[in-house]
Symmetry: C2
Subunit: 341 residues, 2 copies
């Protein structure tokens, strides 16, 4: 079955990631990933009308939860695959995550990036890759002329590289789930957990963890209104897409859920919701001013969702978890967003 607009999820894939996989990922990540802090704030509690526990993946290595999934996926490779190396395509945090994981594990990595990627992200990826074995490189492509999956697939086949996609991969999803697992280990039971949704890797992994360790916890995915493909897919029960959505939340610009993530989201997630661009910027400001955290727009989605749900009266919860996904935003962009707020 092709993974295209209008098709239902293949629910047989929903079992591809278990709590055992998430726990195994947590064991691999111990001492390598940061056990990120959980923050609280009276202001945020007031805005949500509940005790809110904020899991700070913006303070994770490479500044985003992506390191968890990338490192877990790479560390599971057998010796032969490790020698040959890995390939990924990403213009964002996943590229840096794979580059750092490859460097730490001594695995060659090829990172396929668009030639219009921000210079700072390109430079950061190359800096992480400098510690990886020979054969590692950033391959640039013209996004107007090339489909990245085709270029990446061709390169991977020619060089015998294992493809580590940004989200639609069981080991990547299991790795991301460790963020929620740590949150529950630290704060105990929660009534609701808000997680942002781009391709659905973080949301899927966190849902697997939540439903296993705290089944009563409602798991809510949050998207920008301008990139609501997963919300529509969830509601309609068939895949919906959003091409190049103009949201400031660049991590949520992914056009659709993956095959695994659609199956898991549809099976384990309790609800999907959207927030406006203005609400995203408002949540960024609150997180900066009251929790002293620098958060990228995508990173503020879950907080914005919890605040909106509380305001609309749809949140009946006294203990709420929120996952901040990342904090990679450059100062000029940040300054511009704050000025506009």
């Amino acid at each position: 079955m092709a993974h295209t607009e209008g098709v239902p999820p293949d629910l047989s894939l929903a079992d591809a990631v278990t709590i055992g996989d998430v726990r195994a990922a947590a064991a691999r990540l111990a001492g390598v990933a940061r056990r990120t802090p959980v923050m609280t704030s009276r202001s945020l509690d007031g805005a949500v009308g509940a005790s809110v526990f904020v899991k700070c993946e913006n303070l994770q290595r490479v500044g985003a939860f992506k390191f968890r999934g990338a490192y877990n996926a790479l560390s599971r490779l057998d010796p032969d695959a490790r020698r040959r190396g890995v390939l990924t395509y990403s213009s964002g945090n996943h590229a840096q995550a794979v580059a750092l994981a490859a460097s730490l594990l001594g695995i060659p990595a090829v990172i396929v990036m668009p030639d219009n990627a921000p210079r700072v992200k390109l430079a950061a990826t190359r800096a992480y890759l400098a510690g990886a074995p020979a054969g590692s490189e950033v391959v640039l492509y013209d996004p107007a002329a090339t489909v990245r999956e085709e270029l990446g697939g061709g390169l991977a086949a020619a060089r015998g590289l294992e493809v580590v996609p940004p989200y639609d991969h069981p080991a990547v999803i299991a790795g991301q789930g460790t963020a929620a697992l740590e949150l529950f280990e630290e704060v105990g039971e929660l009534d609701a957990l808000f997680v942002c949704c781009g391709g659905g890797g973080l949301l899927s992994g966190c849902a697997v963890a939540a439903k296993a360790v705290c089944p009563a916890c409602r798991v809510i995915g949050v998207e920008p209104e301008l990139a609501d493909d997963a919300t529509r897919s969830f509601r309609d029960g068939v895949l919906r897409t959003a091409r190049n959505p103009p949201t400031i939340a660049d991590g949520a610009r992914t056009p659709y859920l993956g095959r695994y993530t659609f199956a898991i989201v549809r099976t384990l997630v309790d609800g999907m919701m959207t927030v406006s661009e203005r609400e995203i910027v408002g949540a960024m400001g609150l997180l900066m001013e009251r929790l002293r955290l620098v958060v990228e727009p995508t990173g503020a989605l879950a907080t914005a969702g919890a605040i909106r749900a509380a305001r609309e009266g749809s949140l009946r919860a006294s203990r709420v978890g929120v996952v901040i996904s990342g904090g990679n935003v450059d100062l000029a962009e940040l300054s511009g967003l704050l000025r506009g707020a």
Copy 2:
């Protein structure tokens, strides 16, 4: 001996705070203050040429280390003094710290603040004070017409309140020292520790802790060039002052070291240095962009000092500690600073 320009420190006061006092403060603060995270960053390591361990007191309750000293000082009061209450004068983070500590401990608190204090700080102080017992209030004064110490002293005498000054008090200093104690407990030995210096409470407390648990660690105080009174006092061996220095680091605008802090700084601190306003803003930007931390100007002083010392070649260290003092800065101010950077 009066505490005025030109007088030497009373070195007999240097023993007023011992490592035992810092450890006792740590026991009082356990489970009340946050055990703030220690962050690392390759970019910062590169800028300093060493492994840098950043103690994040911007993530402390009330957004600053000040909570440690305030809570320690209040929790040491005997039942009778607790019933009568406390008084402090501060326009900054110490006011909020005393207000929150008073609320948590059920002690009435009077906070004397200038009537031109930022509305947001006044509102935050009143919000914390709302949980404190009857008799708690913010008393505003006209800074052009009133000396705050005189007003505060008069009020305290009339109402039988214990004065908890912002820095020059052994219990306050001991509380602040727990920040460094936690840092050493978490990361082990350090070759150098950089700490910002306003009135010297944090620097003194951290020096007491450092010299006890890691005697070989050099402790360096950092001030703005525009507010270099402690640097000159340290160098000259007699008290120097700086009235209303025009630095953006508002926490370092205190006019002089205190009696206790001058004695401790002169006895235990290894060096004092200054940084420019531009270096402060540069360090704020690095901490925001690479460590995803919102830091107020004063909070970036120590980081700026470590970077400057490394660039000047005066830092011979492979393991460096840096204490971020606080993160209370409003978004408009932050946006303005970033634009100017």
